[in-house]
Symmetry: C2
Subunit: 540 residues, 2 copies
């Protein structure tokens, strides 16, 4: 067979040859929507490659991007890596210190920055050690007022560049193409480097009929940001398959998302549960026509069953839960149905949708505990480990590699079980698991159960130290407006759990609070909770 | 990213882990149908690897298979290559001389032979120089009576083998996995070697929603034989995705095919036009319920529009034409619809279905003539060239490599045009193209037009030498039963063409015949026709 390398540049060629008229619908500001056919997008992408090369970009140069979802960011997704350089997608929601850390650690030499984010980034400039150029992504050809040197307008650079730039065809497919850092809960963010080969194979997986099935006739709108794990790879796959893309731009909100779905006839969209909870609320208050949707993909945290049920049953949209990590490109699994599941009851189907689902073809998963690889029995918990061609093999220049990458497997730090049908079910983070009297108690299971109670807005369950049992669960509950945080409520919630779990699992106490502390991406900061509350444990 | 090699053994693991109860439905004789779950098939495949290893199979050993579509052949599809050995799928329809040639040329050491084909092969044994063992694939554990040494029963070998055989995980993904030889029209067949990487990537392509979309819930029945270009890769993809497979066994016929579709609720099937013409005839004489079918894939020769229309409009089954070669694994393109084609008229849709279609994601095609790469205008003819990771880079130990593989491209010998939408349309074989007065005339276009005339059963158009015009077209026509082969008919057919083509294209004469000579796979033997008829040319 020919030794044709798997390269992202082949995606551009395919889009411009076969789908020149298909659109990228890009919202760059409040009321500005650009509609750019792939023909023009490909030319602009070549111009970007030429322009950045003139600024000094070479093979191996790191170029940071600091922006929302829009066509310029998509140009950077290809215009940088297809030259052999590396696009570092910076999570704009990291703390200022972490933003400076990741730019310095990656050694970014050029930063592509959204015009409306530039003031934020400019404040950090004194901390940045390697950056030589700032390129402002916006509709204007002028640069904003600034005391920084080497600030360029993206559009002005493109005006001066050539669209005849030819991407090299002889890159090694294992060359780095992109980088993302994890949103760390402890310590500094950890860097993951994506290769051309990894992204190409991941894109094939997204196109499989048994996965997301992304195809030419889709209108795909990733709500997940392009600065977060490649927007789950959707922009790459969409270019590969000639799919219409909707990129929702800065400051989007539930109303805007629904307007775009209705107006652009979006067929598939993807984001985290908090987004879909807010979209559902907006949809019920101000109905829209979302009948164009054939799937909502949801990941990043556990999806409440009520949310799944509302979209599936009330609005007729399959709500597919997925699992992935920055380290996994990210797609690992999706809660798609196999043929035998089609005959299940509506309730059983919702149960399956809420799982993390079936492993993608090409990956291998294993759940391991101290006894070795656990059986697929839906009960035995262990740490999820993953292997495959789009799974990271290390953290970029980071000693913490040794903690997560062992014997050729990624150790995810997620505690899971595998159902008998081979569907992944996440139970907890290793750090949050409660080890009580030799038994493992899943904080996530308890939280999900609490959050099905009508009085509960959100709930986090943490381990607190205990003399006899080593650890015991403690529930932290935020009640809905109008609910009373008193002893009868505490008893009601504990009784409610008592009907669903063994006695050992029932939290020793419930603490009512106004808000649960969260990370920048909306995950519970249990480390902080544990510190606050460890003294509250009562004897059983 | 992890350097996980793309290996076929990962498909077995996936099938046995995730889809152990899904079935391989295998017809091994007239009335014998086996239903084997992937769980057992995987065990038997490991046993086969163990058994053949005990017979001396090592990494790089060539093992020939000489059989129909059934579960044992599918075991060989994996049990041989997953060890690092190479499965040579021998086309049982080659001439005896060519069968001996390909076995000797490939240096097959073990032959897996269907019980009902063994007498045929045994006659050739004296000509075979490298074969050390014959393994008889059949339901019996006895070996047939024979004077040959080292003849084994497949089932008896499996009984004595271990299902704990572990496939190596450290094979190079570029290791050879399989071999097929082309069905040569001139000279000896040419060998093509498939690699693990090529087959894995080809399998991803088959699973894409925009390609065949093969998935777990499908019931896939490749009618194309497993001895012919990997049965178009369908058996590999089916194992990868956990798809139910129907393998139709020896001596199948249109009635059997329809019975299997109806009984097993086949959703996707694939074969050459002559099969579907015969199936259509049977279907109209003896109706069956084929409503389970979501697609018929057809390739290997041009599909008459009447055939496409009958399945699409009368029976409601999408009839998707494809293009591929032994050298291309084989899938190159499929006549699937892009979104904008959905609004075309029924007739326009049939026109698109009849094209060779859209190039698969991952491949690159180019049409070249003496002026270079031709534009996509639907008119300018040139030779089709292809590049990509599942395209051969050479013929196995064959000097003819230099004729077909140039500058990193496969030169297919097919004359084609590309429509403005990037859909491939085959016009002719380079050898059959008629070059008349500086213009290229497509014999295939003229044949297709003739075959739409109600009096015509089949038609071949060939070039005959001409003093003034270099070459002129001559039509060879087989009329339907009851039609009169006389001068008025000749005039009617020429007039019929006259309404569709420029004057220069109209054949100088029509020769009526009882049958058109064909190759073993049903293609017109135009070389033979030309020799027979070259003296019949009349002056214009």
């Amino acid at each position: 067979m020919m030794q044709t390398p798997l390269l992202l540049s082949s995606f551009i060629k395919r889009a411009e040859q076969f789908f020149p008229d298909k659109l990228i619908i890009s919202r760059t500001a409040e009321d500005t929507i650009h509609r750019i056919p792939y023909r023009d997008w490909a030319k602009r992408t070549r111009k970007l490659a030429d322009a950045l090369t003139k600024l000094g970009m070479k093979q191996g140069t790191k170029v940071g991007s600091f922006g929302w979802n829009h066509h310029r960011h998509l140009e950077a997704y290809f215009g940088v890596p297809c030259t052999g350089a590396i696009l570092h997608m910076i999570n704009i929601r990291l703390s200022p210190e972490h933003i400076a850390y990741v730019i310095n650690h990656a050694e970014d030499e050029i930063l592509l920055v959204d015009d409306n984010l530039f003031p934020h980034l400019a404040q950090l400039a004194p901390m940045l050690k390697t950056v030589k150029h700032y390129v402002i992504m916006g509709d204007s050809k002028e640069v904003p007022e600034t005391t920084l040197p080497n600030v360029h307008s993206y559009e002005a650079l493109l005006d001066a560049a050539s669209d005849l730039y030819e991407f090299p065809e002889d890159l090694d497919e294992n060359s780095p193409a992109g980088m993302c850092y994890t949103s760390a809960t402890t310590g500094n963010p950890k860097g993951v480097v994506y290769t051309h080969r990894g992204i190409v194979l991941h894109s094939y997986a997204l196109g499989l009929a048994d996965a997301m099935g992304i195809r030419e006739r889709d209108v795909a709108m990733p709500i997940v940001p392009m600065f977060h794990v490649n927007a789950w790879g959707i922009p790459f796959a969409a270019v590969f398959f000639g799919t219409t893309q909707v990129l929702a731009g800065p400051g989007f909100n539930p109303a805007l998302i629904l307007d775009l779905i209705e107006k652009e006839k979006v067929t598939i969209t993807a984001g985290v549960p908090t987004i879909w909870l807010a979209v559902l609320k907006e949809l019920e208050e101000n109905p829209r026509d979302i009948s164009s949707l054939r799937a909502i993909v949801c990941g990043g945290a556990a999806s409440p069953k009520g949310l799944i049920r509302a979209f599936e049953e009330k609005h007729g949209v399959p709500f597919i839960v997925g699992y992935g990590l920055t380290e996994t490109s990210p797609l690992v699994s999706l809660s798609v149905f196999t043929s035998k599941m089609e005959s299940l009851s509506a309730d059983e189907k919702i149960d399956i949708r809420a799982l993390q689902g079936l492993t993608m073809p090409g990956l291998e998963v294993r759940i391991v505990n101290d006894d070795g690889v656990v059986p697929w029995d839906g009960k035995t918990m262990g740490e999820l480990t993953i292997k495959g061609p789009w799974i990271a093999s290390e953290y970029y220049k980071d000693e913490r590699t040794a903690e997560a990458f062992k014997d050729g497997w990624l150790y995810t730090g997620d505690i899971a079980v595998m159902t008998e049908d081979g569907y992944l079910k996440l139970m907890d983070r290793t750090a949050d698991l409660i080890k009580s009297g030799g038994e493992w108690i899943s904080s996530v299971d308890l939280e999900n159960a609490l959050m099905t109670h009508e009085a509960v807005f959100e709930a986090a369950v943490i381990a607190v130290p205990h003399e006899k049992w080593q650890e015991r669960p403690l529930a932290c509950v935020v009640l809905k407006d109008g609910q009373k945080a008193d002893d009868p409520m505490k008893k009601e919630l504990l009784d409610y759990l008592g009907t669903q779990f063994a006695k050992l699992w029932i939290p020793d106490d419930i603490v009512f609070m106004a808000e649960i502390p969260k990370t920048s991406v909306g995950k519970f900061l249990k480390r902080v909770l544990r510190k606050q509350l460890s003294e509250q444990l009562k004897e059983v």
